[in-house]
């Protein structure tokens, strides 16, 4: 596919996804080379969001396969609609159709339940296929994915082979719950997304919440950044920063001080132990996130 860097940058801007050149280049390559893109990084850094942005950018459908332990082909690829087939058989019992005729009928596309992978392959238009948290799936499933990712075709014994007319754009995400095989890594482009720095997070806040004033956005970004440097059980994600900032807006909090923090901390910190840690250090954290006097843009 022919895409330009400007197209990508414009698409990201439209989707209000604030990012850096690294991500831009990776997306450009994923679209031009038509190779799957493997994205790793901490939870909540915006990996899944990239697939959504891609699909918005291309104006194509997003097909999502959420992986989990024990995910198998039947739920990832296709399955026959057994109940419907059974009903059909029973309905025909009196009709006296020949078996050949009948079996041809009940093994037709009408009785096939398309799961995400088949859906992506059989789609008439190019889709974006998001395979989320591939590290949660079993090794065997990963091996099966390799096959699908290299050929983009599936054979269904009763129906024949389904081949992708247009190769889907594939995005895989992983939190490193398990090491992925080198074979999978070799076949993919690789992108690592970390939490944004203060500056980038401020820009994210500003682009998603234009009502938030600049000083507040700066203070919030600084505070969250400082939080991520503590040893928390769960680090606050970008989405949580946004929720928190939204709450600050709703509560009309103009200054980030200890009482304001106590009232809203639940949106950022979701473990009791983390909460006590943060509250014990809130003075230092707030000092690092100075309540900057209104310096308007």
């Amino acid at each position: 596919m022919k895409v330009s860097r400007e197209f990508i940058a414009e698409g990201l801007r439209q989707a209000r996804y604030v990012t850096n050149e690294r991500v831009e280049t990776a997306l450009l390559l994923a679209l031009t080379l038509e190779k799957p893109l493997l994205i790793e990084g901490p939870a909540g850094a915006g990996k899944t969001e990239i697939a959504k942005v891609l699909s918005a950018m291309l104006g194509s459908e997003l097909v999502r396969l959420q992986c989990y332990e024990g995910l198998d082909e039947a739920r990832a690829l296709y399955e026959w609609n057994y109940q419907k087939q059974l009903l059909r058989l029973q309905a025909d019992e009196a009709g006296g159709l020949h078996w050949e005729e009948l079996s041809e009928h009940i093994f037709s596309a009408e009785y096939l339940l398309q799961r995400p992978l088949l859906k992506a392959i059989a789609a008439p238009r190019r889709v974006v296929l998001l395979i989320d948290e591939i590290d949660k799936a079993d090794e065997e499933f990963e091996a099966f994915m390799l096959e699908v990712l290299s050929d983009f075709q599936v054979s269904i014994p009763e129906l024949g082979t389904v081949r992708a007319t247009q190769r889907p754009i594939v995005v895989l995400t992983s939190n490193r719950a398990r090491e992925l095989s080198d074979a999978l890594r070799r076949r993919c482009l690789y992108l690592y997304i970390d939490f944004p720095g203060v500056e980038q997070e401020r820009r994210i806040l500003e682009s998603k919440l234009p009502e938030l004033d600049r000083a507040m956005a700066e203070a919030a970004a600084r505070f969250v950044n400082a939080l991520r440097k503590l040893e928390l059980t769960k680090q606050p994600s970008i989405a949580e920063t946004l929720d928190w900032a939204r709450a600050l807006l709703e509560l009309e909090i103009r200054e980030l001080d200890a009482p304001a923090l106590r009232a809203t901390l639940g949106l950022l910190v979701k473990h009791e132990s983390d909460r006590t840690l943060v509250e014990s250090k809130s003075a230092a954290l707030l000092a690092r996130a100075p309540r900057s006097p209104s310096r308007n843009p």
Binding site: R5, E21, R22, T25, A26, L28, L29, T32, L33, K35, L38, E40, A74, E79, W80, Y82, Q85, L86, L89, S103, D138, E139, E140, R178, E179, S181, D182, R185, R186, R187, C188, L189, Y190, L191, Y192
Partner: protein, 419 residues
Amino acid sequence: MREPLLEFIGHLRAAGLRVSVAESLDAAAAVAAAGLEREHLREALAATLVKDQADRPVFEREFERFFRASGGAPRPPRSGRSWQGMSGGHGVGSGNQPPSSRPIVDPRRQPGPGSVREHDQAPGQEKNRSGPARDDAHGENSAQAARERSMGEREGMQPGARIAGTREVLLKPFSSYTDLEYERAVDLLAVLRRRLRVRLGRRRRKARRGQVDFRRTIRAAMQSGGAMLDLRMRARRPRRVDLLILADISGSVRYASTLMLALVAGVEESFRRVRAFVFIDRLAEAGFERGHLTMQSALDLYARSDFGRVLAELITRWHRLLTPATVVVILGDGRNNRRPARSDLLAEIRRLTRAVIWLNPEARERWATGDSAIGNYARVADALIECRNLRDLEVALGRVGDGMRPQHGLAPKAISGRG
């Protein structure tokens, strides 16, 4: 562009990254797509050649070094080699040298740590030779560049030597380690841990017995027109393994023990619970803090190994750790200084737990000699594995992670590492 690219990939490989042929093709296509602007080039190469964030620093170092002089687009092939310090006139002068000729001595051809003097000399000479030329070519940045470069060269020797040494260290018997080799083995642990994690993730096997899998049974039944002729089974969820490690740290096997504990500490999350003990003639609970072995209670390091007493102590004091989900791994040479072997106690431990696996760092030929009681223990343990070097250790721990009783029945002699 092709030649400098291939050369750059060569440097990455020398620095320890694994780059496949397909990946180099991807890199070429990526560069064509992303363009030669420096940052775009960097990210295009990174996305196609570096598939693990852990390798990124190495990539950055090599990238900076290789594409430094050129300021953006890589130079045409000939001067593309200038990263080696052969910039300016020197590079042109060497135009008819074969590509493989390098101004510095190839570290791989050097016999080893004995030749430190040569290592030190090489960068110095290099600096003298190319210094003036570079000053002309690069103006004010040149002094710093020269410093970095000469530093880089000294570092640069290490990756090559390290790769060449890797295999050697993996196969070197623990018993003949020098302190230097031990350090190198410790450096290698990170790689081994990663490989082991992959291996341990692969534990889920399809069992022939288990629970009935309704979905698959019914789906299979559709092929026979709705009659359930064949039951499909779902593999039972893999039981996670509790690991109990006993490691002898007496002089003869201490390298093997500390390396094993360090390796296990890195893959701890692959097991449900890990408890580790070190012993000589008594037990002490062990842990790892920042890569250093810590013991809960002091051990007499000058004592002589007494396996029998240690086994007795395990049963009396740590009885609650001996559960049916536990795999007991003992690392030791079984040299018991002619004290009672008490293999009956090992049999008792075996009865209480899922498996007992004995790793012996001694060469197989020496097992039955002198004061070795390993024969007595071998009759009781599920497996006795010869574990003479890092590679054996890696293989053995992978099998422990499988948490399965050995497939060859209970005859321990039939099972070994690589004999």
